[in-house]
Amino acid sequence: MNSKLKIKRYLIATFMIFALLPSATLAAEINIDTKNPELKTGEQFTTAIFLSTDEGINALEGQIVFPPDLLELKEVQDGDSIINFWLEKPRIDSPGKIIFSGITPGGFQGNSGLLFSMTFQTKQSGNGTITSQNVKALKNDGVGTPIEITLPNFQFSISKEVAVVIPAQKEDYEPPEMFLPEVTHDKNIFDDKWFLVFATQDKDSGIDHYEVKESRQRLFSVFDKWVSAESPHIISDQELRSYVFIKAIDKAGNARVFKVNPKSPLMWYENYENWTIIIVGAFAVLFVTKKLWRKKRT
C-alpha cells in the first residue's frame, strides 16, 4: 500500500510539475516573425522582433544573429517600438550580428510588442536561421530581477529563382512626435557643464538623427549651421545666453524643430540684430518720407 501510495504521489507530483512548467517557461518570449519563410534569390523581406510577456519587463538587451553569407541587412526600423529609450539602438555589431538594448519605463506587459524590424535582401540560395541570443530581460520590480525568456528561431529557405526587386515605397508625411528638450547640468557628467537632453519617436519611419544649433540672435539664427548631435549634448554657450534649436529628423526626411530659450538672454541693446533692425527701419522710414515729400513738391 505504501509503495502504491508513493507511486501515486510521485505521478501526481510529476503531473503537477509538467502542468505548471509551460506557464513558468512561457513567462516571456521573443518571436522573430515574417510573412513568408520561402524566399527567392535577391528578394527583399522584412522580419519583425516581438516581445510577449506575462510579467512587466522594463529593460531588455540581446543579439539577433543571421547568416551573413545568405542575407544582407538593408535597414533597421524602430519607429513603432515598445522600447522608449535605447541604450544601444539596433545596429550591426559584427558580420551577421545585430545588438540592441533599451528600457520601457513602467514596464511592458502583453503580447507581440514590437521591438524593431529588419529588412534583409537575400544573396544566394540556401537554408538559414535567424536567432536571438544572449537576451536579458529584467522585471519591472525595482531591483532588476532577470526573467526567464524563450527564444524561438526563425527558419527560412532561399530558392535559386531570382526575384524581381521592387523597392518598397514608404509613405511617411508625419514629422516626429512632439518633445520637450531640457538644458541642465549635473556634477556627475561633463564636469558639471550645461548640457541638453532630448528624445522623441517617429511612429512611421523612425528617427534618423538629431541636429542642434545655438544662436544668441533670434532672427539671424537662420544663418547658423545645424550640426548632428546626440543626447546628452554639451552646450557650447555655457553662459546660457543662446537660443538652442533641436531638430528631429525621421528617415523620410520629415523634421520637427524645437527651441529652448536662453536662461540669461541678451539685453535688447546687447543684441546687434536689434540695432540692425532699428537702423534699417529708420532708413526705410526716411526713404519713404523723402520720396513722398518729393512727390508732394512736384
Binding site: 513603432d80 519605463p105 514596464g107 525595482g142 557628467i189 537632453v197 524643430v257 527701419g281
Partner: protein
C-alpha cells in the same frame, strides 16, 4: 508744413510697425515650435492641458472642426433628437483615460515615458484625461498619481495602438494606493504603522511579506487615507516588506509599491520626507530623461560614481537602468 495723404501715412506706419514687430520677435516666434519648460498651456500643440477643453493640434478651427482655435469644444449644428440637418463631427484621433486616484490628487499621464498631460482628481478621486493630435502607431502610455503627502503611486502602463480617426477610451483605471511606514526598523514585538492614501472608503488590503505572508484589511476614510497597525511579534527578526492594494465598487487595484522595514532589537523612525527615489540623480524629485542621460553617460564605463551605480555592483549596466525605469516619473 508737409502733409501726406492718408494711404501714404499708412505706408510709413506699416514700415515702422514691421520694424517693431521684428524687434519684438513676434514674427519669428510664429515660425518656430518653441518649447521651454515651465510654460503654461499651449493651444495647438495637440495636448489637452490645464485650462483647455480640447486640443487637436493643427486641426483646431471653427465648425465643422471638433475643437476651436481657442481650444474649446465647438458646438456644431443642432439636429438634436430628431436628427434632421445636424452636423456630426467625425471622430478625431484621441485617447481618453479615466479612473480613480486619490481625492484632489494630481494625476500625470506619460506618452512614451514623457509627461504629456496632468489633471487633478475630484473629491471622489475620479479623473479623466484626453489627448489628441496623435499619429497612427503604437504608444506606451503611463499613468500615476501623487497623494496629499507627495508620495507617488506605481506607474501603470498601457500599450496602445492608435488608429487615425479613432477615439480610444481606457477606463476603470485604478491607481494603486500609496504606502509609507512610521519606522524603518522596529523592535521585535512593537507595532509598525503602515499608512497611505487611496480612494474614499476603499477596502485596503495590506500585505506583509515574510516567510509567511500576512494580510490585513482596513477601510480608508472619506479622504482615502488609511492606517494599519501591525504587531511585529508575528514576524521573525530580519528584513520584511509591505505593500497594499485597494478595492471599491467591484474594481480591485494591483498591489502598489513595496516598502522595506527591519525587525530587530531597537526602533528607528523612518525618515520624513522620504529619500529621493532611486534614479533621481539631480534631486529634482523626478526620474526622467535627464537622469537617463546621466546614467547613459556612465553605461559600461569604468569607475562610475557610487550615486549612479544603483545596485552597488561597481558598474552601470542594464540592472541600473531597470531600477531607474521602475521609479520613472517622466
Amino acid at each position: 508744413m508737409v502733409t501726406f495723404p492718408y494711404h501714404n501715412k499708412s505706408i510709413i506706419a506699416a514700415v515702422f510697425l514691421i520694424s517693431l514687430a521684428l524687434l519684438s520677435g513676434s514674427v519669428y516666434a510664429s515660425n518656430q515650435e518653441a518649447s521651454t519648460s515651465g510654460t503654461g498651456p499651449v493651444c495647438g500643440n495637440g495636448v489637452v492641458e490645464s485650462g483647455e477643453q480640447c486640443d487637436a493640434g493643427g486641426s483646431n478651427a471653427a465648425c465643422p472642426a471638433a475643437c476651436s482655435a481657442s481650444c474649446a469644444i465647438n458646438s456644431c449644428g443642432g439636429g438634436g433628437a430628431s436628427g434632421g440637418g445636424g452636423y456630426f463631427a467625425p471622430s478625431e484621433t484621441k485617447v481618453i483615460f479615466s479612473g480613480r486616484a486619490y481625492p484632489g490628487s494630481r494625476v500625470t499621464l506619460l506618452k512614451d515615458a514623457q509627461i504629456t498631460a496632468q489633471t487633478v482628481a475630484d473629491s471622489a478621486a475620479n479623473f479623466r484625461i484626453s489627448i489628441s493630435g496623435l499619429s497612427t502607431g503604437s504608444y506606451i502610455f503611463g499613468v500615476y498619481s501623487e497623494d496629499n503627502q507627495g508620495r507617488r503611486s506605481s506607474l501603470l502602463t498601457f500599450p496602445t495602438s492608435v488608429t487615425f480617426g479613432v477615439a480610444i477610451e481606457i477606463g476603470s483605471i485604478f491607481i494603486t494606493p500609496t504606502i509609507a511606514i512610521d519606522k524603518s526598523q522596529v523592535k521585535h514585538g512593537e507595532n509598525i504603522a503602515i499608512f497611505g492614501q487611496s480612494t474614499p472608503e476603499a477596502n485596503i488590503t495590506v500585505s506583509i511579506n515574510s516567510e509567511e505572508e500576512f494580510f490585513g484589511q482596513i477601510i480608508a476614510d472619506a479622504n482615502g487615507a488609511y492606517l494599519y497597525n501591525f504587531d511585529t511579534a508575528k514576524l521573525v527578526v530580519g528584513q520584511h516588506l509591505t505593500k497594499s492594494k485597494a478595492a471599491t465598487g467591484g474594481v480591485v487595484s494591483s498591489f502598489g509599491k513595496a516598502v522595506n522595514f527591519t525587525v530587530g532589537a531597537k526602533t528607528v523612525l523612518a525618515q520624513s520626507p522620504a529619500l529621493p527615489a532611486k534614479g533621481d540623480f539631480n534631486h529634482d524629485s523626478r526620474v526622467n530623461l535627464i537622469d537617463f542621460s546621466i546614467t547613459a553617460y556612465w553605461y559600461k564605463r569604468v569607475n562610475p560614481p557610487a550615486s549612479i551605480d544603483l545596485n552597488g555592483d561597481g558598474k552601470v549596466d542594464l540592472i541600473d537602468f531597470s531600477i531607474m525605469a521602475f521609479n520613472w516619473t517622466g
